[in-house]
């Protein structure tokens, strides 16, 4: 809730000053298709193609991934050493040492690819249909376990396993979204309100997860005793299967308010509200209890540990990573549009940490917007984004990319999106 309030305040700060400025009717900015004013995202946006300017089809592929420890150069170095058969224990420990102290070790990724068909029906209604594949993945090591690795156990001996887990889900989705557009309300300069809702029917393709079954599992590592009670469940679908592996429903909602003559908007998006149930999930379990003062005994116990097949279950429920995104923007300037959005995780699996995206769209050539942006938060702290588009009456082309946590070699995350749309 704190993060939600923070995001609302941030949006309000952006919107409030922007409303004070009036956009002349003759301004090029004012002539930008309202659909194109909705700045594209590198992140998941289920309403992205409902707001196409006219009926058409869009192909889109995008991926987003980041971690908070290893840069691109680090990963290439690890791969290089491995390929050279020169990877040493000290290299691995040095790599582990790059996890920021006091933080969870995070790794998350999302990817999607699909085709979208949509457009307006009259002046107040837009429809969008989609067929896409989507994947989520995350890996989290609790900060206390990270602390054990990074700081040793001279000062602290009790460590919480916390929410340490790893998982991934791939789905194919058929979606339908609609948006009702009303306005201007009150006056010619009044607000244009858009209310959208939609749903997606999900078919899981593959799934895997490892997590502890114990709440607040603790590991004690001291000079006198190592005590750990570990109960890990690994669940996965044994193969990739496009049908017959369960289903799910996800809902998305959007509320958008535009003040075109003022050149500002505010939008709230509640996405990915739903669950998917997965069949034919093989569950394995690893139980490890150690309470020993003998390091050899501990080593022997660890050597003997292995996952044992537990069962195969149907109807395993996975909650999709819910989020709410508050966006606001202004395009008062002739060529410049500024956007800010805060994506707040609302629970579920495979969550991505709170991140704020700042975009500036430059329409030096109105149909060829250039975009530059910053990302704050997430797993990497700060990131840089850029993109270029072709937004015409009949053609949409978007190429976007992001480098998170640093530039190129120093990047700890990256994102890319490519879209190609044709409108009739």
């Amino acid at each position: 809730m704190k993060r939600l309030l923070l995001a609302l305040m941030t949006g309000a700060l952006v919107v409030a000053p922007a409303r004070a400025q009036t956009v002349p009717e003759t301004s090029p900015a004012a002539r930008v298709e309202p659909a194109y004013r909705r700045t594209p995202q590198l992140r998941v946006d289920p309403f992205r193609h409902v707001l196409t300017p006219r009926w058409g089809m869009v192909f889109s592929v995008g991926a987003f991934g980041s971690n908070n420890a290893l840069s691109a150069a680090d990963i290439r170095a690890l791969v290089f050493l491995e390929n050279q058969d020169s990877l040493l224990i000290s290299d691995i420990l040095n790599a582990i040492g790059l996890i920021p102290l006091g933080k969870d070790a995070l790794l998350d990724a999302q990817a999607e690819a699909g085709v979208y068909l949509g457009g307006p029906l009259g002046g107040h209604l837009s429809l969008g249909l989609s067929y896409q594949g989507r994947g989520y993945g995350s890996f989290v090591v609790d900060r206390e376990m990270v602390s054990l690795l990074l700081e040793g156990n001279a000062a602290q001996q009790q460590f919480s396993v916390g929410d340490t887990k790893a998982g991934g889900l791939a789905t194919q989705e058929i979606g339908a979204h609609a948006m009702v557009r009303l306005g201007p309300l009150g006056s010619e300069d009044g607000v244009h309100m858009s209310v959208g809702a939609g749903g997606r029917y999900l078919l899981p393709i593959a799934y895997g997860e490892e997590r502890t079954l114990l709440e607040d599992a603790q590991v004690l590592v001291s000079g006198q005793l190592v005590s750990a009670n570990v109960d890990i469940q690994a669940a996965h679908t044994p193969n990739v299967q496009f049908a017959g592996r369960g289903s799910g429903i996800a809902m998305d909602f959007l509320l958008r308010m535009d003040w075109p003559t003022s050149g500002v908007y505010f939008e709230g998006l509640l996405g990915n509200i739903g669950k998917v149930t997965i069949d034919q999930v093989e569950r394995r379990r690893l139980t490890f209890n150690v309470n020993s003062t003998d390091i050899q005994e501990i080593a022997d116990s660890l050597e003997a540990v292995e996952f044992a097949v537990q069962d195969t279950v149907d109807g395993l429920s996975v909650t999709l990573p819910r989020f709410v995104r508050f966006s606001g923007g202004a395009w008062a300037n002739r060529i410049l549009q500024l956007d800010m959005s805060a994506t707040v995780p609302l629970g579920g699996d495979f969550q991505i940490p709170l991140a704020v995206d700042l975009w500036s769209t430059w329409r030096l050539v109105p149909a060829v917007p250039l975009r530059l942006g910053l990302v704050l938060g997430g797993s990497t702290g700060i990131g840089y984004t850029a993109g270029i588009g072709v937004e015409t009456r009949n053609l949409l082309l978007q190429v976007m990319g992001g480098s998170f946590g640093g530039w190129f070699n120093d990047a700890k995350g990256a994102a890319a999106r490519f879209e190609l749309g044709v409108f009739f």
């Binding site: 991926a63 990963i75 290439r76 040493l88 790794l107 040793g152 190592v226 003998d294 990256a414």
Partner: protein, 574 residues
């Protein structure tokens, strides 16, 4: 982990697009070491080892009076109570036959004299009077008959109560030549074989019949008194005796007995304490002597004692040439070390008829001598000798095969008098290493490990202080001393304090001590390979207060609560 791989792959693919491949392994390594230089300390429990009696590898592990001890294999000797029982010079009969001189003088020539008489046999042998029956193994009865009549005498003797193997009384006839009449005797000797015969002393009677035809010589009347003498002497070995046997009456029931049994080195195993035993004096040892008597007569052992001898090369008991007494091992004063075997509070030991008797006697001096002789490579025997008496005046029976068996269970307690310099126990052991590759070993030693230290908190309730020298070297050195290996790592000496002891060398209260081992650099390298040989030299010294005496109680132990501290360096572009 399998779910993590796709995520890593996605991220790697994305990031790989924007990153350049390192130019060299060194560049790649430096890239990963870009973090700040840091040293991280990991503290892990190494082991909680308890050094107690189970670690001494003793076979025959036992407890004696609260002391840790070791039991010898049981040793047996047997004391035969009647294997050489014999009677000699037994006077069976001593008869004198006289005639009336007037009758002999008046008898005309040709008069036939036929005299029959019965005489008690064994009447002068109290040794046999309390015996109901004697089964004879072998022996003879020699009957000497003398005649001083001038007539030839024909005589027949029958020994009632002296049975031949068929159960018939011994009987025989013979002729006594005529004497010259001057008072001298002619003699005839009959020898009876007593082998496998039976004597019934209580019914022993000599039945004598003598006949002669008188010649009318006046000399017969002159020699009528004690005209015929008859003396029977028997010597025989006994197969069995029965009756109210009483050694007070029958001295033959008391005999000197002796037997020995060799004690071999394999009969005792001091395990890891062998070196300590060699260098120390044993102060506690107990023998449990289990006697078993097969005879249906109580057997009393008098002057019976156990001693030890060093056997001759041929395995014989050495003896004093003059006395034949075994050359027992002696104490510092030259006095033979002999352990008297008696019932508690008595001067003798009695084993009841067909029964057992068990006594416990302390024998530290004897055990110490035996142990040191054995560990010194000598052949050693325990000798039991003394006098054995069978019977108590009550109905009994002994046979030639009856014995008193003695089984000795010798227990040696770990109560030592240790020299001031202590004793050194050396032990080699082959240990598994952590089995790293050489590349990883070099990496750990050069790039990773700052130091490794082992700290052990020792709770010592043994009566010993320990000075430990440790060396280890890579590979299997067999029994070779790792200290002498050129690649050995010699660890700084470790000292474990000892508790204060009482006068008996027993621990008054455990002591807690902390010992540390620090390994740096290449010191750790042998431990990381496949295997290494460790040589441990432990100098065992007695704790204070016991005047060099240290007694290891059965519950005494040293608990090593050890942990390892590893400092690992990281980052800093190493």
């Amino acid at each position: 982990m399998r779910t993590t791989l796709p995520i890593l792959a996605t991220l790697g693919m994305l990031l790989g697009l924007v990153a350049c491949e390192p130019a060299s392994v060194t560049d790649a390594r430096n890239q990963l070491a870009r973090g700040p230089a840091d040293t991280v300390r990991y503290v892990l429990p190494l082991a909680t080892d308890t050094l107690d009696r189970s670690d001494l590898d003793i076979q025959g592990d036992t407890v004696i009076g609260g002391l840790q001890g070791v039991a010898f294999d049981p040793e047996s000797v047997s004391v035969a109570v009647a294997d050489d029982l014999q009677f000699q010079n037994v006077t069976v009969t001593d008869v004198a036959v006289s005639f009336d001189p007037a009758v002999l003088a008046a008898a005309p020539p040709g008069t036939l004299v036929d005299s029959t008489a019965q005489f008690p046999a064994l009447a002068t042998e109290p040794r046999l009077q309390s015996i109901d029956q004697v089964d004879v193994l072998a022996g003879t009865l020699t009957l000497t008959t003398s005649n001083r009549l001038v007539e030839t005498v024909t005589y027949t003797v029958t020994f009632v109560g002296f049975l031949d193997p068929t159960g018939s009384p011994l009987t025989a006839s013979s002729v006594l030549p005529a004497a010259p009449g001057d008072g001298s005797y002619t003699t005839d000797v009959l020898v009876f074989d007593l082998a496998n015969g039976t004597l019934l002393p209580s019914s022993a009677v000599l039945d004598l019949r003598a006949t002669a035809t008188l010649s009318g010589s006046p000399l017969n009347a002159a020699n009528a008194d004690n005209a015929i003498l008859q003396v029977g002497i028997a010597d025989f070995d006994v197969l069995a005796l029965s009756g109210p046997l009483d050694p007070q009456v029958t001295a033959e029931l008391t005999d000197s007995v002796e037997d020995f049994t060799e004690v071999t080195l394999g009969s005792v195993d001091f395990g890891k304490f062998e070196d300590a035993v060699i260098a120390s004096t044993l102060n506690a040892a107990t023998g449990t002597l289990r006697f078993r008597n097969t005879a249906d007569a109580p057997v009393e052992l008098a002057n019976f004692a156990l001693g030890a001898v060093q056997l001759t090369p041929t395995g014989q008991v050495p003896r004093d040439p003059a006395t034949g007494v075994p050359l027992y091992e002696t104490d510092g004063a030259g006095t033979p070390i002999l352990i008297p075997v008696t019932d508690p509070g008595q001067s003798t030991l009695t084993v009841p008829r067909t029964g057992t008797n068990t006594i416990t006697v302390p024998m530290p001096q004897l055990a110490d001598r035996v142990v040191h002789l054995l560990l010194g490579g000598s052949r050693v025997a325990v000798v039991g000798s003394g006098d054995a008496s069978a019977g108590d005046g009550q109905p009994s029976r002994i046979t030639r095969t009856d014995s008193v068996y003695l089984v000795t269970d010798l227990f040696v307690g770990f109560d030592f008098t240790v020299p001031d310099t202590g004793v050194v126990i050396t032990e080699n052991s082959l240990q598994d290493g952590l089995d790293f590759t050489q590349n990883d070993i070099d990496d750990i030693v050069q790039n990773l490990l700052v130091r490794a230290g082992v700290t052990a908190v020792v709770t010592n309730s043994t009566p010993f202080a320990l000075d430990i020298d440790l060396a280890y070297a890579p590979g299997d050195l067999g029994n070779a001393d790792a200290f002498l290996d050129p690649n050995a790592v010699v660890v700084s000496p470790i000292q474990v304090s000892a508790p204060t002891l009482d006068a008996a060398g027993r621990v008054t209260a455990p002591v807690v001590d902390t010992v540390e081992i620090l390994l740096v650099g290449r010191d750790i390298e042998p431990l990381l390979g496949i295997e290494f040989t460790a040589t441990l030299r432990t100098r065992v010294r007695p704790g204070p207060g016991g005047n060099n005496r240290a007694a290891l109680g059965d519950g005494d132990e040293a608990i090593f609560n050890s942990s390892v501290v590893i400092d690992v360096k990281r980052g800093g572009g190493q």
